[in-house]
């Protein structure tokens, strides 16, 4: 009798294991990160998205994130290694991985590669991005209302279209509520370097800027603003715990929406390399975490603008818009097509200085 039980248990176990192995054989998905997941900004927001995939798909997927992968030729080895180790879906979360992703995607035709913020695609290489400029626009609306002297500051990473677009959207948003506003920019030529970011923020504050935004990945700007008694925003993630009253609001990215959708399509076998560029409408970016310094009417105004973007009645880049020279580049009532947004390389009216060459 006991032997029978033992046998039955053993059989059940064996069956259990084999059926589990059949049902599961989870989809392995690798994530390549530019910074540490503890940056509280860009990489953190991607890692939140990865965890949402874990939570939604359970044992159907097995995800893995690799942090601090430099945008050098070394990235190719990391991506290749992930592919060799059986990851059938690979997300690379920074622009500088583009050529490496393209090379490896050709060597592994059966693996699906997803590259964030780039523009090269292939049979098994897709791109995805969030319309971060919509977030920048909404922050700009708050900044325009909150600035006392009309001087805004932005800490920029690299002068690539994505970042220039965000600086412009921030300025357009601010000038929509306060036409006197001007924006200064300091470039740090890095995505993540809290020391440099902080220095840049202090420079802007010294020049008189009283509301800061950043297109870098750490909360150093928010911390600097708190110290100097000016305002700042959370970028990519909620950074309120670093700024207390200095933290006005945050443009929070929700990559999980894109990641979940992609994993679902890959599991169903319906994935295609269609470029993804999600914004407020799809819930991929939102203005959140309003601080105590923001009056209710300003918060309401920002949320109305958000609802306008969501409903499709408001586009941040809607004419009439002028460039720095005062020349109109977008006629009244027209909104800028994605193809032009993707390669933006000039400042709009209200931004000071020139785009660095």
């Amino acid at each position: 009798m006991s032997r029978f039980k033992c046998l039955a248990a053993g059989l059940a176990l064996a069956l259990g294991i084999s059926s589990a192995a059949q049902a599961a054989d989870p989809l392995k998905a690798g994530f390549v990160y530019i910074g540490p997941t503890g940056d509280h900004g860009w990489t953190y927001s991607h890692d939140v998205g990865r965890k949402e995939v874990d939570a939604k798909f359970g044992d159907k997927v097995k995800t893995q994130g690799i942090e601090n992968v430099p945008e050098t030729a070394d990235a190719e080895r990391v991506i290749r290694d992930l592919a060799t180790k059986g990851n059938k879906l690979i997300f690379a979360t920074s622009f500088g991985y583009m050529n490496q992703m393209e090379k490896v995607s050709k060597a592994f035709p059966k693996t699906i590669f997803m590259h964030a913020t780039g523009y090269k695609t292939g049979k098994n290489l897709g791109t995805y991005d969030v319309r971060t400029y919509e977030g920048a626009y909404m922050l700009g609306v708050v900044a325009g209302k909150m600035t006392k002297n009309g001087k805004l500051g932005v800490v920029g990473s690299f002068p690539i279209p994505e970042v220039i677009r965000n600086i412009n959207a921030y300025t357009i948003g601010a000038r929509s509520v306060n036409p006197k506003v001007s924006t200064r920019v300091v470039w740090v030529n890095t995505w993540f370097d809290p020391g440099k970011e902080r220095e840049a923020a202090l420079t802007l504050i010294a020049q008189g800027a009283d509301v800061l935004m950043q297109n870098t990945d750490s909360p150093a700007i928010v911390q600097a603003a708190k110290e100097k008694g000016v305002y700042a925003f959370g970028w990519d993630s909620d950074m309120s715990k670093f700024g207390d009253k200095a933290h006005l609001a945050a443009s929070v990215l929700h990559w999980g929406i894109i990641y979940n959708e992609t994993v679902e399509k890959v599991l169903a076998g319906t994935w295609k390399p269609t470029p993804i560029w999600y914004g407020v409408k799809q819930g991929a970016v939102n203005i959140e975490a309003f601080g105590p310094a923001v009056p209710a009417d300003v918060k309401k105004l920002a949320e109305e603008r958000r609802d306008g973007i969501k409903a499709g009645t408001l586009h941040p880049f809607t004419g009439p818009l002028k460039d720095q020279a005062g020349k109109e580049f977008l006629a009244a009532g027209k909104s800028m097509p994605d193809s032009d947004l993707a390669k933006m390389n000039f400042y709009v009216e209200g931004v000071e200085g020139t785009v660095p060459k």
């Binding site: 430099p70 945008e71 500088g96 690299f158 279209p161």
Partner: protein, 364 residues
């Protein structure tokens, strides 16, 4: 405690020091892994054995070691002469800019001469960037540790300007990078499916040439004497300025070659991320290799292995990326510490006092 120079530093210990430094690094590394809650045995396996498990691993090792060894060969000549070029990163970038500039100027060329021309241009670019601090040193007595490092930042800004403006890929959506180089402008792959390319032969040739140069040439002897005993060198009539020029131009040249190897190799274009800091890492390589052409080969391979292992540990053990830097840093730190104790002896000043007291007692 007092550090007192030893009369005759042990020759054997000087050769054993790198091994001792490696052992100390492993020891402290093991403690580090225990503190991180990882099994040190497993961690070391992932770090040092795992990356070499297959042909791809060896290919990656050589791909990474080649530029490190190449740059370190040039640096070592200067270090022997106490000329401290710490801006090899800038010379590498200028090599890449000169070599890459040729590739961009002749984008459509299929000529077999394109790549050799790029290599030559890269060597010239790096050498020129090394010649500037040499001029500043010989002419104005400007400290080369400062000028070489500052020029590395200048090189980076030049590169940044070039890829953002005149050399920007017109089809690249305004992103700061050049066009991708054509096949004629790239080193060819040695094996199907592996990234190792023919630029590794430049490094091999350089190792042989530097070995012959260091062991056979009178010039190298003069340079070394100039570093070890400047007054003796002056007395013997060895010109100091020639040492400066030779050291800086030669190390610039090798760094420039390494730069071409990167842009015409795994990178395949000019962009802002040409080098993961090879110019700086090569300084460690040169020291751990005891400034000897053959020693540098081993230390270059070791440093490359730490790069690969650190990455593998990140993937397999979820350790932080800082592991790579920590191990490389510890290695240099322990080596320099060993050197201190080979050159110097630790003495307690107390002994002196006690000896003095004894002497006083002995007197009536």
């Amino acid at each position: 405690m007092l550090l007192e120079p030893r009369a005759t530093p042990s020759r054997g210990m000087r050769l054993a020091a790198p091994l001792l430094a490696i052992l100390l690094t492993l020891g402290v590394g093991a403690l580090l892994f225990i503190a991180l809650g990882k099994d040190p045995q497993e961690a070391f396996h992932v770090l040092f054995i795992g990356p070499l498990a297959d042909a791809n691993g060896w290919s990656e090792l050589l791909l990474k070691a080649a530029p490190l060894i190449l740059i370190a060969q040039g640096l070592a000549i200067g270090f022997r002469a106490r000329i401290f070029n710490i801006g090899a990163e800038g010379q590498l970038i200028m090599g890449a800019v000169f070599g890459g500039g040729v590739a961009i100027a002749f984008q459509d060329s299929q000529s077999a001469w394109l790549l050799p021309t790029m290599v030559l241009a890269g060597a010239i670019g790096g050498a020129l960037w090394g010649a500037i601090p040499a001029l500043l040193k010989t002419r104005f007595n400007a400290e080369e540790t400062l000028t070489t490092l500052m020029l590395a930042y200048v090189a980076n800004l030049i590169l940044s300007w070039l890829v953002s403006d005149p050399w920007r890929d017109p089809g690249g959506m305004n992103f700061p990078q050049s066009v991708m180089f054509g096949d004629a402008a790239l080193f060819s792959m040695l094996f199907e499916g592996l990234r190792l390319n023919t630029s590794v032969f430049i490094t091999i040739a350089a190792v042989l040439l530097f070995w012959i140069f260091v062991s056979k040439s009178f010039l190298a002897y003069q340079v070394t004497v100039g570093g070890l005993a400047p007054q003796a060198a002056r007395y013997a009539g060895f010109p100091a300025s020639r040492t400066v020029w030779l050291s800086l131009v030669l190390s610039g040249l090798t760094a420039g070659l390494a730069g071409v190897g990167e842009v015409a190799g795994p990178v395949g274009q000019l962009n802002l991320n040409i080098s993961p800091g090879y110019g700086y890492a090569a300084i460690i390589v040169a020291w751990i290799g005891r400034l000897h052409p053959v020693g540098i080969v081993f230390s270059g391979l070791l440093m490359a292995l730490i790069y690969l292992g650190g990455e593998a540990a990140q993937m397999a053990l979820q350790t932080p990326a800082a592991i790579t830097g920590i191990f490389q840093g510890m290695l240099l730190f322990f080596l320099l510490a060993c050197d201190v104790f080979i050159e110097f002896r630790l003495r307690k000043p107390l002994e002196k006092r006690r000896a003095a007291a004894l002497a006083r007692k002995a007197l009536p």
